[in-house]
Symmetry: C2
Subunit: 412 residues, 2 copies
């Protein structure tokens, strides 16, 4: 069902020196599926993350923040799917802490060096005993080439596992950047998505790692929306094992720039994969808003279009009912927007048509041009606000019967 996306084959996901992954079936919510993933990191590894801004943030998100605040030294990530451990109060916090402690016992590290993550249904208790009982199987399964299996084990309503991998020359070293993500609904990340993990063997200073995870989130996960719902569990974590042996990279160094490009490239692939596999998605839509006073107002316009159920259903129907895009631009909150100056284009690949200008339909626009482009699986909406030099891009998908079906059935 995903729009132009296929999970990379196992041998396309390069192992990251210093990183091993193991999965197990722990019956967190359903039986007989691998729902528990352990990522073990070599001593000396560091991590930085960005997390949901949702006030009802999940217990594991709170624990991650606490543990990362200790300085960034990390030895393991533990991820369960099925139950989000969000909206679970003090009991949920205790469960997340005990999960970390149990992993630390098994691996012989401190509890503060273990980051816990959960995804799934909100408001239901985490089955802590079953989770802990599954940990030894995860440890027994640890291997450097298990990214493919791990990407499958963190899925919920995803139809495809999402992963990406790059190798980059860094001075005398070849370093690796490999990541995975999950998410298909409740996707409108505010700081990061639910869930994204990228690991590299390149060594970075902690400030550089923190800067890079923020930059990568801003250029990837923070540009996507499926349904406008910001999850309670959004987490994007960048891990550095340091196994490449390079001198730790600082922000601004030559090597940092090359690594940054690779991390952003991987993050963007993972983020776009979430939209391509958005619940019920049949179209992948890029919305580029230029000519704004600020990037914020460009983002506001792009998200108004991306979240409009009317725009999204029109794309599902391949119906060029494009006035709905103008309506969304009009209510995006720019009080002094001059609608007679802005222009709107619709395109796919090199095929592009000017739809609206001078406050109405463009003189040269013909319905058949709009209809032809709307039938494509990859569509660009370009808006020029004609009031400044700022721009922003948002990626989203259409709204289909299938979205309703998936979310009406999700727990059953």
């Amino acid at each position: 069902m995903a729009v132009n996306y296929a999970t990379p084959a196992p041998d396309q996901l390069f192992a990251v020196p210093g990183v091993r992954l193991g999965t197990a079936a722990a019956a967190i919510r359903k039986k007989d599926r691998r729902d528990l993933t352990l990522i073990e990191l070599a001593p000396g590894s560091r991590a930085a993350g960005v997390f949901t801004q949702n006030r009802f943030c999940a217990a594991p998100v709170q624990v991650c923040r606490e543990h990362l605040a200790e300085g960034g030294a990390v030895r393991a990530l533990i991820i369960n799917t099925g139950i989000a451990n969000a909206g679970t109060g003090a009991e949920g916090l205790r469960a997340a802490r005990e999960t970390s402690a149990a992993v630390a016992d098994l691996l012989g590290c401190r509890s503060g060096e273990v980051l816990p993550f959960s995804t799934g249904v909100i408001l239901e208790p985490l089955p802590l005993e079953r989770l802990i009982a599954g940990l030894p199987d995860c440890v027994a399964d640890l291997a450097a080439d298990h990214w493919h299996a791990a990407a499958h084990a963190i899925m919920t309503t995803d139809t495809l596992a999402k992963a990406a991998s790059r190798r980059v020359a860094l001075g005398g070293h070849t370093i690796t950047v490999t990541g995975m993500s999950k998410g298909a609904g409740m996707i409108r990340p505010n700081m990061a998505t639910m869930l994204g993990f990228i690991a590299t063997d390149a060594a970075l200073t902690q400030p550089a790692l923190q800067q890079l995870v923020g930059d990568a989130a801003a250029a990837s996960f923070n540009c996507i929306s499926v349904d406008g719902d910001t999850s309670t569990n959004d987490s994007f974590v960048l891990v550095s094992s340091g196994a490449a042996g390079n001198a730790p990279l600082e922000v601004g160094s030559a090597g940092y720039a090359a690594l940054r490009d690779a991390v952003i490239d991987v993050a963007r692939q993972l983020a776009q994969a979430i939209v391509r596999d958005g619940e019920g998605a049949t179209k992948f839509i890029s919305i580029e808003v230029a000519g704004g006073h600020s990037a914020d107002e460009c983002r506001a316009v792009a998200y108004a279009i991306a979240h409009s159920p009317l725009v999204k259903t029109a794309f599902f129907a391949s119906d060029p009912n494009l006035g709905r895009i103008l309506a969304a631009i009009g209510y995006a909150g720019i009080a002094d927007l001059a609608v007679d100056r802005l222009r709107v284009w619709l395109g796919t690949g090199s095929d592009s048509v000017l739809v609206a200008e001078h406050g109405g339909r463009a003189a040269g626009y013909r319905e058949e041009d709009g209809a032809r482009i709307m039938r494509a699986a990859e569509i660009d909406i370009r808006v020029d606000l004609a009031r400044g030099a700022a721009r922003a891009t948002v990626w989203t998908c259409d709204l289909s019967y299938e979205y309703v079906k998936i979310n009406a059935d999700y727990r059953s």
Copy 2:
């Protein structure tokens, strides 16, 4: 399909002295349906309105604002369905002005005393010649008891006509308040809905009329949402014919308060009817948020819940996946919200259950209680933010397959 709503019978809609209505089939967009409505008002009538805040506001909205700015004297309203005359630039403005002029010619009044309204597809030109050709049929059809027919003639994707009527004793007079509305999708009014008309024979001063239309909008149309899309054409107009012969009411007079209650009652019925007939709606959901610092933050929380596709699909499925409500509250934008203090209840009629408190599921909550309430057609969500004394209520509906179907097919 509408949730607990039936159009009042013709004899339940009281004629308003000084007001006559006539409809005609003008083939605006489809043939053989009445799509043009003229409301003729006796000399001395006044009107006040509130209109969409959408920057892409429709041409007729712009003309209404101009005409009302001349002082409020009004002799006619002309309403077409099928084409919104929005996103139509200078040509659309000319069409709206010529519509007013043509009506003024027929009725022997000034063009500035005619208010034009349009609803339907955006970005397509108004067929002005066909509209003007249909006006004489409207005039020939004028009658005081044609509210029922007019309420049908202004429909688009509505499945039922929406109208309401009240009589109120006012000093020695019995005055009448009758209104109609339309709208089922692109409903998230910001100042007013697309479209609401209420007429009364009570005389009011222009400032009192303006105050009353704003108060009534705030208590009715501005509290509803179907899909979060603010229309380009939202218009809510209150008309006073003065035919009751009372001394014009001022804000604060005893008679004003009684009339205000009646107008708000009618406006609320019309607004709720739009939600009950929301595109694809199977549930009517009242969201009451109390205990906020301000009404604005209460409204922000209520709308976050009302607009969440995940909440809306869960209600469609009668699935008490209520963590989705917590997630929506959490991303509603209150940065210092204490989630461990707030409480959430679910109810229908006198059956109510505490769902969440202390940041998680309430101790006494049982899934079967949630499931029982979710099966009802009328559901209340109550949230206590526990941080102040402000409150706000929003009415919305669920999100079903049918919403997608209607909006994927709308123009075909």
